[in-house]
Amino acid sequence: MKRRKFDLAATPGKAAVGIDDRFKVATPLRGLLNKVFPDHWSFLLGEIALFSFIVLLLTGTFLTFFFEPSMTEVVYNGSYAPLRGTPMSAAYASSLDLSFEVRGGLVMRQMHHWAALLFMAAIVVHMLRIFFTGAFRKPREANWIIGSLLFWIGFLAGFTGYSLPDDGLSGTGLRIASGIMLSIPVIGSWLTSSIFGGEFPGTIIISRFFIAHVLLIPALLLALITVHLGLVFTQKHTQWPGPGRTNGNVVGERFFPRYALKQGGFFMIVFGVIALMGGLFQINPIWLFGPYEAWVVSAASQPDWYVMFLDGSTRLMPAWQIDIPLGDGYVIPPLFWPTVVLPGILVGLSTLYPFVEARHLKDYRTHHLLQRPRDVPARTAVGAMAVAFYLVLTLSGANDVIADKFQISLNAMTWAGRVGLLILPPLAYFVTYRICLGLQQHDREVLAHGVETGIIRRLPDGKFVEVHQPLSAQDHDGHGALEYTGWVVPKKMNRLGALGPAIRGFFYPIEKPVDAPVSPGHPPVEPRPERAEISSGSESRH
């Protein structure tokens, strides 16, 4: 019997050949693995959202093992003494058990909540990057719309999840949501009673929100995220302009192995940050809120941060009620404008922005190169305006906490919010526009006159001038011939190689500093000879 020699090194290759013989995957896989991604730190912000979504799916699945989505009344008899003997819904009781009885339940609950906050925060930060760099332009308008929808669906996911534990805080939020739905003219009461199964709070809302939160919304999110990433693959990633980079190519790293490894590592970092926050920072202490009862409400009842702008708009809205004397009389309550009309306008504006801008600039070309925010001052300023608007509303959503902790009158906070909402966005527009123009001008100035060297020369007439290092040959006026290319203009001598290159790294160098280049005219400076310590003879014996 001949013993076959087992070659370990050839095993993966053989297995791969076997798989390819059967499934014919080598050709499409080669295209995928060799796909090139441009590299820049700001291209990784969307991944934070993607990875926190994965953490959300994992921790959320764990929570469903123990959560009971039911409003049946039970009497709590668990280990948290201050609530023992209190009647509450089964949903709240099982959330308490998740926090106090289930091993690891509290850290999972907290990780889930922090991951939700991070998911929304990363979506917003990623969206700002896309906006300010013009990455939404043709052909990527569809992906911009999908991204905006992801924010609003994430908003719904967050709200339904926040409502599930049926604690005093989430019930207050639910009551507000029912009020918002009721404020919609004509259909309001029908809409509310069909969602709540009758008058608020009813007996069914937790079960319905549960299915929405664990099945419908995650499925929708997953589908949209898949399309979002698929479009990034097929339309290719945008890149910054720079040497060798054009509108027709992609310069970067191959997907496999480097890019994939980096992404894997980044997933671990995101997971780690969420786990750390889940373990170190207490979030949503439902045991302090108590079970939801219609007569229970707490000061400082806020929604999670991404809903807070609607709370803020509600707080700033004057009590303008419209009475329509038709039939028995119709009423449009003031709540309708800040909580239904305003988000409607925001959804419309944000999704349609790429088309509005293209129409305004009559720019219907395809763009794969990003723009520096300073090069499109109007867009950057509009973005700053939107950020200012959102910030004022969000801060107003927490204005009672701010008023109390900083000892400001709550009425003053409300009026500051009202005035700020009207004044700060235009101010932000103006200031941002001017800053962009200033930065543009400085870039052009360096291209024309060269880099400041820090060398001051005294002219024969006694005048002092700073010597500039021109970046190119100069014409008779002393102006360079370089055109601005939409990328960073070197503004320091070490960027030109005149001095040693700047040492890379944050806080400490991540590579060995290169020795400074030596000018041909000067010999390298010798280090001074080591000097011996001077000491007296008697002391040297020690």
Binding site: A121, M308, T394, A398
Partner: protein, 278 residues
């Protein structure tokens, strides 16, 4: 003053008519005496039955109250006026506020107030416990009002679960779920309950200081007050925060701040690090 002859006649006869034989001088004297007697009787009856106005000027104060009055006349009289009757536009009358109110305001340092503002702040008390008791006794004897039970432990026998329920119904609207306090209108606020003692919480419920409503014994029975105090003192102040650092228990506003200051900042540095490694 009357003759033997008069004495022999009956009383009615004497009232009906005088003997004609009386001298003019004696008649005049008798009339004067009778007028004097009637006036004395009427004045005496008036003095006995009429509310004595001058009786309040010098009430029979106990020795503790007298000490309290001395303190009052030095530290409180500027705003609350002589005999605690209040000064228009400066300080309210303290007649009838009771010892509970005085103990709350003085022992928590809110009174004497630093300045006129929307609401007095808690600060280190100016008076000792003994002096506070004397002031309270003075105000109590001046006009009556709610009083605290004896002892420093007013949560004896309190049930924290019942107390929690009552706290969430009655207190958390203003003082917030974690008893950290909250804003009210125009610069007024519900203070944090964390520095408050049993007696101060009890006194606040009884007297309703500043913007707080009064929770008299017909709204919250003394045993329910004990439940609430037990919940505040034993659960809210000694909760171990099983989830980690509680971010001040301000609810979602500080959680939102934390996700940007900690989560997003940490991960943006991570992106810089990763992108810098190419």
């Amino acid at each position: 003053m009357t003759s033997d002859n008069d004495r022999r006649r009956g009383l009615l006869a004497r009232l009906r008519g005088r003997p004609a034989a009386r001298s003019r001088g004696r008649r005049r004297l008798g009339a004067a005496v009778r007028l004097l007697a009637a006036l004395t009787l009427a004045g005496g009856a008036y003095t006995v039955f009429a509310p004595g106005a001058q009786a309040q000027d010098a009430p029979p104060l106990s020795s503790a109250a007298a000490e309290g009055k001395a303190l009052f006349d030095v530290s409180c009289v500027t705003c609350h006026g002589r005999n605690a009757q209040g000064v228009e536009g400066r300080g309210p009358s303290l007649i009838g506020v009771g010892a509970a109110s005085v103990e709350f305001q003085v022992s928590s340092g809110r009174m004497p107030a630093t300045r006129q503002e929307a609401q007095a702040h808690r600060k280190p008390p100016l008076f000792t416990d003994e002096q506070t008791r004397q002031l309270a006794q003075y105000i109590q004897e001046l006009g009556g009002g709610p009083e605290l039970p004896q002892g420093t432990n007013l949560r004896e026998g309190g049930d924290i679960a019942t107390g929690g329920e009552l706290f969430r119904i009655n207190c958390s609207q203003c003082h917030a779920f974690g008893a950290g306090g909250g804003a009210l209108s125009s610069g007024k606020f519900a203070p944090s309950l964390r520095p408050a003692s049993d007696r101060q919480i009890y006194a606040a419920m009884l007297s309703g200081p500043q913007n707080m409503p009064v929770f008299g014994d017909n709204q919250l029975r003394p045993d329910q007050k004990a439940d609430i105090i037990a919940y505040i003192q034993e659960t809210l102040k000694h909760d171990q925060d099983p989830g980690g650092f509680n971010l001040g228990r301000y609810g979602p506003s500080t959680e939102g701040l934390a996700i940007f200051l900690v989560g997003i900042v940490a991960l943006v540095f991570a992106t810089l690090w990763i992108a810098g490694k190419s």
